[in-house]
Symmetry: C2
Subunit: 456 residues, 2 copies
């Protein structure tokens, strides 16, 4: 391993320069106008996988964006890792808040700034470089490896479940490794054993056929923006409790043991507030900030649009209003059941003075692992050697729905091996990745292969 | 007068063709990028005023857009009309809902479609052509006339009050004539004797310094879109009543006599609902539709924006949310007092978890006339001759704040001599003006000058 680690240390500059090329491709899966870029990014990913020494590399077509597949299966008798990541990225608006262009990666104070740097190209690339290091130094890997990098994670992985179901035979493995999450804090590497689920909606309210003059017509017909506001206001109360009937029925309560564990983590509400620039924290009464982020569900308005939103004043009574609303779910909530409850509630809230349409966008199940298994412990040792610190165990507020699918369809446990940081603006302007964590992550990944490979 | 009326009838095609040129100038006062167009429109207006025979035509500079002034003061012993109109127009978004481009006027089924056709260039141009007809046929006008056409009506006429105050001496007149309103209905010409006032705000809510990942952070900080929705929801209840404390204190109640008059007007809620495409009407309980539009105040959300509003799903927890909110006022509400009450209420509603900023955009006083005066009766006769029907008397839900200023500063009563129609989309896509009303309006305006001029 020393040769591999040395190789990684001497190639830092090249890694950053290559990563910049990867980050330059605006593979925004949510926006149809970027479809060409998404495909170009899939092709770049495949070429890189071939370059680092993977075999059987191919784009597997789906009804949406292709999945990039590659493997290396010559470590006889050793276990097989299925590595999963995604090459698509989030949209970049509001663009004017970016300090440097989102697709021209720029290094400042040891961080690389670009859309996709943390989520997830940077973390995918870290594994490519770990593979490369083994191959360059030893001409082989210490473990069998299958790699799938998908292009629809940011739009709900809508074709991935079918891809996994259709390729059950060729995706056989002992453990799934995913690097698409953040460590607990700067200098506090972690292993993540739980994720929230998701269900996402668009609500459209129509009042009239066209926008009206708010003076001539105001007071005589419903205002769809006001109706929408009144509906949204009834979805969550001012104590942070979600008011969708039946919403909490299946919520698995936090155990006292888990709550005690989390209280030991190095955490400051004051620092968190300051970092986010929030005047005051807010959330469900009776739970700590970490509990609210990791172990409790939430309902959030993700977007809202109606009427005149430009500079100045326009006296319009809008014809339509739109909101995007999503819920994060915890074990044992099921996204389909919650979606049914939500849709029923929206229909109940909708007054007869308007037309209301609810569109189900996407969803994913929550996930929680037994963190005492062989592979989680191997990951712990790899992190410890790569970062020089024992990792802590924590959950994540975000969602990686595919983790539940791997468990259900392939019966394979997952290890969440993320090296992002909580303040790296994953879905916001000025997304960044700490380069020390990136380089340590390459070392840790290389060691992870060795650790898992040696468990024959 | 017969020669004048004949001249008007034989020039219909030319009028439409010239009006198209006027409507081609995108003089949107709300958008800074159209400032050049606004000035160009002022210049076009001035040139046209000179062409039709007005004298002393000039652009009077203000801190904002210029006021175009012109006069003809040679009708010795006759009264003086002060004609007021505006050459600026509303923004055009959403542009994709226009059937033909907003600044390429197009005639379909006897209506001319373009931004500004009804509000207010078409109605201003109608007077220019009435002046021209008198001048061409008789080389003189039957009345003294001062004309002021301003360029900031759609952004609250913010420099007009000062212009009027500064030019009291040169604006001396007996009556103000304004053509910037709609008649009661197609085939039901009307004289308008009351207008609602206005006060308009922007509310900005900030939760954090930047947009956040809704999974990682959701549940731990306030969501500014949700906070804004909850605040808006508390501004008006589901019975249509405005909940700003003190809001109704100065409202002049409708008299039974007026309510009885309005009940006689040809009106159908069913037809109104169908025309607007509203599933059901909505408004303050206990009042008819006309009462709610003309005689009762309202609070409307004019616009709303937060987070991700594009196609698809983005799991963002927005940093900021914005709403435009305005209130229409009735006698004897004062916009400044209402604005104070509203701001205090917003501050009361704002939770400590966010920063809330309220910006006062503009306002105007409500207005109501004694409709039995000489000039109103003269206007009634002019309408009757121009349109072949006795006009009805009604109020308007919109606001023309300058009417109150003319009354207060110059002590001059106003006559609202509008020929628009209620369904002409004044502030919406596909604004239009009925060309029969336009041509009849030219005749009626020419007769109005004669009727007022003969009152020596």
């Amino acid at each position: 391993m020393i040769k591999v680690i040395d190789f990684i240390h001497t190639n830092r500059d090249r890694y950053v320069s290559e990563l910049k090329d990867y980050l330059a491709i605006p593979s925004i899966s949510a926006l149809p106008e970027h479809q060409g870029d998404v495909r170009r990014c899939a092709e770049w990913t495949a070429e890189e996988m071939t370059r680092v020494g993977l075999e059987n590399v191919k784009l597997v077509e789906t009804p949406g964006n292709p999945v990039v597949y590659g493997d290396w299966l010559h470590a006889e008798g050793a276990p097989t890792i299925l590595f999963y990541g995604h090459y698509d990225v989030q949209p970049v608006d509001p663009l004017d808040l970016w300090e440097t262009p989102p697709f021209e990666a720029s290094v400042r104070d040891g961080e690389i700034y670009a859309r996709g740097s943390a989520d997830d190209k940077g973390q995918v690339f870290m594994h490519f470089k770990a593979i490369e290091a083994h191959m360059k130094q030893h001409g082989k890997l210490p473990v069998n490896l299958r790699v799938i990098i998908e292009g629809e994670e940011e739009v709900g992985s809508k074709n991935l479940d079918n891809f996994i179901k259709a390729n059950k035979d060729t995706l056989g493995a002992d453990v799934v490794v995913i690097s698409d999450s953040a460590m607990f804090d700067r200098g506090v590497p972690s292993i993540c054993y739980g994720l929230r689920g998701l269900t996402y909606f668009q609500i459209d309210v129509r009042g009239t056929n066209s926008d009206l003059h708010s003076g001539i017509f105001g007071g005589s017909v419903a205002n769809p923006a006001m109706v929408l506001a009144q509906m949204l206001a009834k979805m969550r109360d001012t104590s942070g409790r979600i008011r969708v009937p039946g919403f909490y029925d299946d919520v698995r309560e936090l155990t006292q043991a888990e709550r005690d564990e989390w209280k030991k983590l190095p955490w400051s509400d004051k620092r968190y507030m300051k970092e986010l620039g929030a005047p005051k924290l807010f959330g469900e009464t009776g739970f700590t900030t970490l509990e609210r982020r990791w172990g409790r569900p939430t309902l959030e308005v993700n977007g809202m649009l109606s009427g005149f939103t430009g500079e100045g004043a326009k006296t319009v009574l809008p014809a339509v209003a739109m909101a995007k609303v999503s819920m994060r779910l915890v074990p044992d909530q099921h996204p389909d059941k919650i979606a049914d409850l939500f849709e029923a509630y929206v229909k109940e809230l909708a007054p007869k003075t308007v037309e209301v349409k609810v569109t189900r966008m996407h969803g994913g199940k929550p996930w929680m692992a037994d963190f005492d298994n062989t592979y989680v412990r191997a990951a712990g040792r790899a992190i410890e050697q790569g970062f020089g610190k024992t990792p802590v165990f924590c959950r994540e507020g975000g969602s990686i729905p595919v983790v539940a699918t791997f468990q259900e369809e392939l019966g394979i446990p997952s290890v969440l091996f993320g090296v992002g940081l909580p303040d790296e603006n994953a879905h916001a302007p000025n997304e960044k990745l700490d380069l020390d964590n990136f380089h340590n992550g390459i070392v840790a990944s290389a060691i992870l292969y060795e650790e898992i490979g040696s468990r024959r």
